[in-house]
Symmetry: C2
Subunit: 330 residues, 2 copies
DNA sequence: ATCGGTACGTCATACGTATGACCGTAGTAC
DNA sequence: GTACTACGGTCATACGTATGACGTACCGAT
């Protein structure tokens, strides 16, 4: 190694200094000289060698089902910031709803290149459950199998329904994601329970399902509007679906919120483009990402299962919700 | 190595078989047995060891300035698909407009963990220009320094202006990105040249600048609308800005396209949520990403500078553009 | 019998770092 | 003068794979 030669010390000393383990073993004078030489020669430690020898790559993977969804991007950002502070790196892998390269990338990186995985709305492949697999933390899905970090969707759903009920809405529909996900199931269940509490038959309100692209969100919204009946408000699994519903309503001349109130989820940028801007449940994906990384790091470092975490959410009231119309008179 | 033992061969043989270099050296019978044992034992090659020994990690990094922007997500997807077909992996790093962890991640991965980098709307750090640096390919910016892959924005701009001129527009404004970027500069220059050809003073039309978040895009759009004058159409650096302009116009009661025509760029999902849906220049980011990976791979494998590539674009006419109004009569 | 060639494998080493086991020197206590 | 400790640093090896340099056995041709 050049640096060792230039500084007149052994390679071991260089390694100790540069990896910050010099305390008590190497004098500060020598350490400073080593650092100076390293800088001058433009020395970069080889990540592969480091990972091979130490058994840790200081890198974790974030696997998402759809990198196209704005929520994931902000989550990645939060995770990267937290990781950076801990001396780690986060790399993102797009699963594209089960594409071959998603699992492929996981397989390619799992041994040696990555210390652990975060799965966000993507399903960990079975191979990651085998003993000896790298640690996994799941985001936005409650499961016994892995430690997880989730949004407090129960509170979010409750706040939405409180808000709508206060506005006089009783027939509250639901625009579901066509993507499977524990978090969606859970919200739907909560909504069903609340409707029962209101003594409203869930069968009497409009329900639809759509996917997170504009075309499909709008198409699904039209299906839902076909069966609108006397539903006066619809809560949506996310802002993409809500935007689609808003657009579809406009195409049909349905007044929002005069005739129909719409509530989204996530508080994406999208919520502000809609007209009127969407009432939605604000989540802070950066916090979710950061928390997810922290849990994964704890798992990596201690080998004992860390505690699950729940990130709070908050209702943001904008123009897309208003008092329930009196349909009997209209 | 267990597999070698189980199959009754040497570790070298296992390596040859599993890395596909067995042809002519190892009999098919033996190879099959090795593969069987490997499968049975759940053997996974160690990526770090492989990278260390072979000097190639079979992984490339895609660095983007803002992972939140939907365009990048689709680009990543295209790159990952192409990479997968070539036996590589693409990992995404969010630079977050120059955040510490962006450069940090690049530095951490550049030696040993990554074979090369794609920079998309993010600036390669100076350290990547030093001799001995990993290969770099730049996306959506023409530069002498690195091979690059770009959209045919000249053609796109021309198609937009042809379209607007055919509709009778002469005072055509511009909504610029506040983010620096060669591609934006180039489009602006083209627009200026075309206005001169029309004998229109660029100073006589509305120009604004905004960033790619809803709040800032809408705020910037209001600035632009304050100085609208008799501008009858505005072309935007991307669909996010166009959506912001559309929203701002609606807030002011400006009829689109009756009073003002709006043209976006990219054909994001966003374009469909706007009301009316945006006329825009359709780019296929998946193709861009795939091409970028291919160019990088060529660079990695051959050491000689590969040819630059240009990806075609296409105007998509929707509801946000219409005939120029007769402002003298209005 | 010898040689050349081919088919099939193995040997041994190197990749660049991290780290537990050492080792020398100087200082301190007795 | 001896024993012990603390300090500052080096040695040697291992991590798991890839690969150029070698064997070895067998076959056919001379």
């Amino acid at each position: 190694m050049d640096v060792a030669h230039a500084a007149g010390v052994s390679q071991a000393t260089v390694s100790l200094v540069l990896s910050g383990k010099a305390a008590g073993r190497i004098s500060e004078t020598t350490a400073a000289e080593v650092r100076r030489c390293a800088r001058e020669l433009g020395y970069r430690p080889n990540a592969a060698a480091r990972a091979l020898r130490s058994g840790s790559a200081s890198a974790v993977g974030l696997v998402v089902s759809d990198v196209t969804h704005p929520f994931f991007g902000r989550t990645l950002r939060g995770a990267q910031r937290a990781a950076w502070e801990a001396g780690h790196v986060v790399v993102l892998i797009d699963d594209a709803y089960g594409a071959a390269w998603g699992d492929g990338s996981v397989e390619a990186l799992r041994d040696g290149a990555i210390d652990g995985f975060l799965f966000f709305a993507a399903t960990p492949p079975a191979s990651l459950q085998a003993p000896g697999s790298p640690p996994v933390v799941v985001v936005e899905a409650r499961t016994e199998r892995f430690p997880h970090v989730v949004l407090d969707v129960d509170a979010g759903t409750d706040q939405v329904l409180d808000h709508l009920e206060a506005l006089g809405h009783r027939k509250i529909g639901y625009y579901r994601s066509a993507i499977a996900g524990e978090t969606f199931d859970r919200r739907l269940a909560r909504w069903t329970a609340r409707l029962h509490a209101l003594d409203v038959d869930p069968g009497a309100v409009a329900v639809g399902a759509g996917r997170f692209t504009a075309v499909e969100a709008i198409a699904g919204a039209h299906d839902l509007l076909d069966r609108l009946g006397d539903t006066t408000a619809v809560i949506c699994d996310d802002d993409v679906l809500a935007s689609g519903l808003s657009t579809a309503a406009r195409e049909r001349g349905i007044d929002v919120p005069g005739r129909l109130s719409i509530v989204g989820f996530d508080d994406l940028d999208l919520a502000l483009y809609a007209s009127p801007p969407l009432t939605t449940v604000k989540a802070v994906p950066e916090d979710l990402g950061a928390a997810a990384f922290e849990v994964l790091l704890a798992r990596i470092q201690s080998d004992e299962r860390p505690e699950n975490r729940t990130i709070p959410v908050e209702l943001v009231v904008r123009g897309s919700t208003g008092p329930a119309p009196d349909l009997a008179r209209g």
